[in-house]
């Protein structure tokens, strides 16, 4: 079946099967930033924005996303460039596998929450698992980014 996604600002037609997930459709079409980290909707590495909201692309049927705006890191390069400055400063980027999904979640957080508390920030990004950093450097980077965006 065919679906139309507005992928990173451009309407695109994709040929998919009904049981295909958005993660696979995106990776097949060279969106290498979207990562496959697990098979249980649990790790967050596959996070994308659908109509501006962070969602697990491994768990959204592509057919479901028909007609939606899908944003990956490839679509918000300037913003992610800026977020990565803070991650670089704090040494929060190690293996990087969780970073693209996390960057999208942070971008959405910044638009979604006004003056979030530490707990609210953590509650927002808790679904983006990281095995390398121990989380603290990431958290500091996120707070500095949010402060910078004010």
């Amino acid at each position: 079946m065919k679906i139309t996604l507005k992928l990173n600002g451009h309407p695109r037609l994709f040929e998919i099967t009904p049981n295909e997930y958005l993660l696979d459709t995106l990776r097949k079409n060279n969106m290498t930033s979207v990562k496959n980290g697990c098979d249980a909707s649990s790790c967050g590495a596959c996070s994308v924005l659908i109509d501006g909201k962070p969602m697990l692309s491994c768990s959204v049927l592509s057919a479901r996303a028909d007609g939606c705006e899908v944003t990956t890191v490839e679509g918000i390069q300037k913003e992610v460039d800026h977020i990565s400055d803070f991650f670089g400063d704090e040494g929060a980027d190690q293996c990087g596998f969780c970073n693209s999904g996390l960057a999208l979640t942070i971008y959405a957080l910044q638009k979604d929450l006004k003056n979030p508390t530490d707990e609210e920030i953590k509650n927002y990004v808790v679904g983006n698992l990281c095995r390398c950093s121990g989380y603290q450097a990431q958290f500091i980077a996120i707070k500095r980014y949010l402060e910078d965006q004010k």
Binding site: C38, G91, C95
Partner: protein, 773 residues
């Protein structure tokens, strides 16, 4: 130092976060055949018959392989130096399946859907065998996990497969039994540590293709590209010169990618079909069919005098290496070698034990590599002893722990699989680490406990640890530096960046020595054709071993530049003043940029390159003090980790932020082992915790505060005074937590993970005992 010991951002973090293709699967050939594996549903079984005809006839299937199609040559999947200290006890495919998830057959098809379908069409008749699922009764069990011929040890490691023993070791300094008899206070305890899953975010993946030279090119998410090349060559009988292994960005390893997972299958498929192929492990396969940490039982006996002098340590280890013996001997030896020297002044110390086969998932390398298991046992035992001695645990450690300038006989006796290397602790700031640690956590105000309102108690606990910096006389790393026109450099290193930032810190070391900036040092790493050799990212070797190789190459390059400049300026090299940018002599000068252009295009043209190699002659340990603060509910045993303080001596931290990241990442993984994670098996040996739904690693909400500092320390044998820092962070959390729980509630948990239910049950038992007496 201008570049080293700074906080510069990693050289690759930005590009990766911005989503550019970087990881192994991002770089697979788009026409790759998809390779999938059929795996055993039984913990122990013999294949009676296997019929692949239906699968082979399925449209879109290019190849199906079973044990009938592959020469029966045993090898080890462990990525270690050659000859490996791990037994060669694995076949690519075998008639026996030795754990639930063991490989039985593979298919290569044009799409994932067809590959999955083909798997379901392979008809296997298994003879189910009784399995060995209890490591404490594995030795001399009537059930033999490896009854077959053709398996061997590369050198004596105590390999007795007919007794289910993969390795054995023992050593004694002084006379432990005799010394114990002279001790006034003795404690004895057994500790159990669980199997832990690495849970790195990127699943294992490899892809293979034949290039225009008809060579086999593998892209692999591996920690050991050179070992992969050798092992594939030897096992599949392909000349080493015909294989190229490239390691792209890796999404985490922690030891879980220090072995071959998938390389054999894609190699076979590509060699036999001539087509590119790839395999991407599912998360379930990563859990069930790669490795776990070795679960162990550690029996610890400590003997001391009433004045608090520790006199004897007796440590026995039983380790479960699962179905295959990768890393069996070496992890087990590190349990002693990188833990017991912490208390170096004892009169007698004994370490011995066995590593056994079971039909569990194979255990392998995992950050800490035995030291975390040993540390849990020893540092818990020390606190137990302190209670019996009625002595403050900080004072006891300060009295007995190793100090700068001292040594331990264990260094000489115990290496990693072989004999060790004697060494004096030229840099050891453990005393400072402990002093500073107790300051940072406000130990004196909180030890042992503070009663909070609302049924909670605040408590602190601590542990000290050591690790190593590479394996002396075995781990070799090398670096090549090339000078380009315009005065910038290429740095080619075999060293393997798996996310820990080695590309960045090696560039820093080179830049410091070359007196330039990191943006002028372009790093290319881990390509068996284009970069010089390096054993790989393990044993905390990269900063110390690979770093020293880089330092050598950079130092030589600087000298070569000066020599060339001297020729141009018509002076002696010793008369040249060089600041990294301009070379001056008397009243003349030439910039490096001009010099390099001249050497490339204009006059006396030549390509300047240098190669430095390094093998360690010792393995200077990083040290740390780890202190935990918890708030624990005295009714339910639930606890929150409020703060974890780490004071680390890793010599000079090459990059302050990246070193901190290594420590903190290790702490959180250690906390995972201490409190949250557990590989669980069902009664039939099947892994129940084979998904992130059931295997829970710490999330950002488990971590309230991490306080990390580095001691001022300098190890002259290390590059710019550095020791390694990759593993030390993981070792202290289990004992620190167990000690904090004891300080809070007076109950001692001796098995990991430390759960609220274990604490609750222990409290009930304690209440029972108290009311009985």
């Amino acid at each position: 130092m201008k570049i080293v010991k700074t906080k510069i951002p990693s050289i690759d973090g930005k590009g990766i976060m911005m989503g550019r293709p970087a990881y192994t699967d991002d770089l697979s050939d788009p026409n790759s055949l998809i390779v999938k594996l059929l795996r055993s549903p039984y913990a122990f079984a013999k294949i009676v018959s296997i019929d692949t005809s239906k699968a082979e006839n399925l449209e879109g299937v290019e190849l199906v392989l079973t044990y009938k199609d592959v020469p029966k040559k045993s090898f080890t999947r462990a990525g270690q130096g050659y000859p490996e200290p791990s037994p060669h006890d694995k076949f690519v495919f075998d008639e026996y399946a030795r754990y639930v998830g063991d490989e039985v057959a593979c298919v290569a098809a044009v799409s994932e859907v067809i590959a999955e379908k083909a798997l379901s069409l392979i008809e296997v008749k298994y003879e189910q065998l009784e399995a060995v699922l209890d490591f404490e009764t594995a030795i001399d069990s009537p059930i033999i996990v490896h009854p077959e011929d053709g398996i061997l040890e590369m050198f004596p490691i105590g390999f007795e497969p007919k007794r289910n023993i993969a390795a054995v070791y023992g050593m004694e300094v002084g006379k432990v039994e005799k010394t114990l008899k002279e001790c006034e206070v003795i404690i004895k305890e057994s500790f159990y540590t669980q199997a832990q899953a690495h849970a790195m975010m990127e699943p294992h993946t490899v892809n293979a293709r034949l290039d225009i030279h008809n060579r086999l090119v593998l892209y692999s998410s591996t920690q050991t590209p050179f070992h992969v090349r050798r092992i594939v060559s030897q096992t599949l009988d392909v000349p080493l010169s015909r294989i190229r292994v490239i390691k792209p960005r890796v999404g985490g390893g922690f030891g879980g990618k220090q072995a071959l997972h998938g390389e054999m299958f894609v190699s076979l498929v590509t060699l036999r079909t001539g087509k590119p192929s790839k395999i991407v492990y599912s998360r379930k396969e990563v859990f069930e069919s790669t490795f776990t940490r070795h679960p162990m039982r550690v029996d610890m006996t400590l003997g001391a005098m009433k004045d608090g002098t520790l006199k004897a340590i007796d440590c026995h280890v039983l380790s479960d290496t699962g179905a295959y013996g990768e890393h069996a001997l070496t992890v087990f030896m590190v349990t002693g070698a990188k833990v017991l020297p912490l208390y170096n002044k004892v009169d007698a110390v004994r370490f011995n034990g066995e590593v056994v086969y079971t039909n569990h998932v194979s255990a392998g390398a995992f950050r800490g590599y035995g030291a975390i298991q040993g540390n849990f046992a020893l540092e818990s035992a020390i606190d137990i002893l302190c209670t019996k001695l009625d002595m403050d645990p900080i004072e006891f450690r300060q009295k007995n722990m190793i100090v700068e300038g001292e040594t331990s006989p264990i260094f000489e006796i115990m290496g990693e699989g072989t004999a060790g290397t004697a060494m004096i602790m030229e840099s050891c700031k453990l005393d400072y680490c402990v002093k500073r640690g107790i300051e940072l956590i406000d130990w004196k105000k909180k030890y042992p406990r503070v009663d909070l309102k609302n049924h909670k108690i605040k408590a602190v606990g601590m542990a000290i640890a050591m690790q190593g910096s590479g394996i002396p006389y075995i781990d070799m790393g090398a670096a090549t530096i090339k000078l380009n026109d315009d005065g910038f450099y290429n740095l080619m290193v075999g060293a393997t960046d798996i996310g820990q930032g080695s590309d960045t810190i090696l560039a820093q070391i080179a830049a410091e020595a070359l007196m330039t900036t990191v943006d002028k040092v372009i790093v290319y790493s881990s390509d068996s054709d284009l970069t010089p050799f390096d054993t790989g990212a393990y044993a905390s070797s990269t900063t110390y071993v690979s770093g020293n190789a880089v330092l050598k190459a950079a130092t030589q390059m600087k000298e070569m530049i000066i020599i060339e400049a001297a020729k141009v300026l018509k002076v002696e090299p010793k008369d040249v003043d060089y600041d990294g940018v301009v070379l001056k002599a008397k009243d003349q000068q030439i910039t490096l940029s001009d010099l390099s252009n001249r050497l490339t295009y204009n006059e006396d043209q030549k390509q300047l390159t240098t190669t430095g190699s390094y093998v360690g002659h010792k393995s200077p340990p990083p040290f740390m003090a780890g202190l935990i603060e918890i708030d624990i509910d005295k009714e339910t045993g639930e606890f929150d980790i409020i703060d974890y303080v780490s004071v680390v001596d890793c010599g000079t931290p090459i990059n302050l932020k990246l070193a901190q990241g290594q420590v903190e990442g290790g702490i959180v993984q250690g906390l995972g082992m201490a409190a949250f994670e557990e590989v669980r098996y069902g009664k039939k040996g099947n892994m129940l915790s084979n998904s992130f739904l059931y295997y829970k690693i710490p999330t950002t909400k488990q971590i309230h505060k991490l306080t990390t500092e580095f001691a001022e320390s300098y190890e002259t044998s290390g590059p710019f005074g550095a020791k390694s820092v990759g593993e030390i962070g993981i070792d202290t959390p289990p004992a620190a937590l167990a000690n904090a729980v004891y300080n809070a509630l007076g109950v001692r948990i001796t098995s990991l993970p430390i759960t609220s239910e274990k604490i609750y049950n222990a409290m009930q038992e304690k209440k029972q005992k108290e009311s009985n007496s």
